[in-house]
Symmetry: C2
Subunit: 147 residues, 2 copies
């Protein structure tokens, strides 16, 4: 079984190399733009009411994967699925960014952590009722988050 | 440009029809299992430390899409990308579920909202430092969430 994904847009950011690109939106203060291809522009209606959006995109510069990786925030090998490492069997990235404004098919967003020219696969509204969990445990990340 | 995605596992749930399937994990108290294919099992190492995981999966029973849809929680048409509607150009679903336990390649999870036999594309750890935003506005969903 296979699923073929085609970009619905492209993400523009100042980051042209992996080195120096923020590892997560919450560690970025950088503005970028999400260019939605005109064919899909009609689907942006009502999006301006949301302060934050979930971007799903392809890690286009990450081909291949290993099931054990050393995460950016750790010094030990971990199981890939316990990390947000970009090299994955299906290289889908997920970032929650702040939606600053929309001008036609261009979304101006803050806290961007993707490479320039990242292919956009989907946009979903960020809804805390759906997306926030409390009383969480975060495994190996627990101690790393304090560093 | 195209990206070919292949399932890394399959999600088992009691929901065999769209009708009656919870629209979001936070509206489900149902247990399900995520079967990760043995080839990928090694990537599950360290995942047990996380209380919640993000599942990315294919909306395998939703082909085609419209850029204006009437969301399940609303009575007006909205732009597709301002909704979590399953019929999308790239039909990728996103659910945050509670990880109850892991037995070899089987994850027992709570708050499942997928149809039975949903193809799994990726598992990411849910990390509030990365995934929680405060001071949000939620557009059209604002009034609907109180109903």
């Amino acid at each position: 079984m296979e699923f073929t994904m085609r970009p619905i847009g492209i993400i523009h950011s100042p980051f042209t190399e992996k080195k120096g690109t923020p590892i997560q939106p919450t560690r970025s203060q950088t503005i970028g733009t999400v260019e939605v291809y005109p064919d899909y522009m009609d689907g942006l209606l009502n999006l301006e009411g949301f302060s934050h959006i979930i971007l799903l995109y392809a890690f286009h510069q990450s081909s291949g994967y290993s099931l054990r990786v050393k995460p950016f925030l750790d010094d030990q090998e971990r199981g890939l699925f316990s990390t947000r490492y970009p090299y994955r069997p299906n290289p889908i990235g997920l970032s929650i960014v702040e939606l600053v404004s929309i001008e036609e098919n261009i979304l101006n967003v803050n806290h961007i952590d993707m490479l320039d020219n990242t292919p956009l696969l989907d946009i979903k509204p960020y809804v805390p009722d759906f997306d926030v969990r409390k009383n969480t445990r975060v495994g190996w990340y627990e101690t790393r988050s304090k560093k």
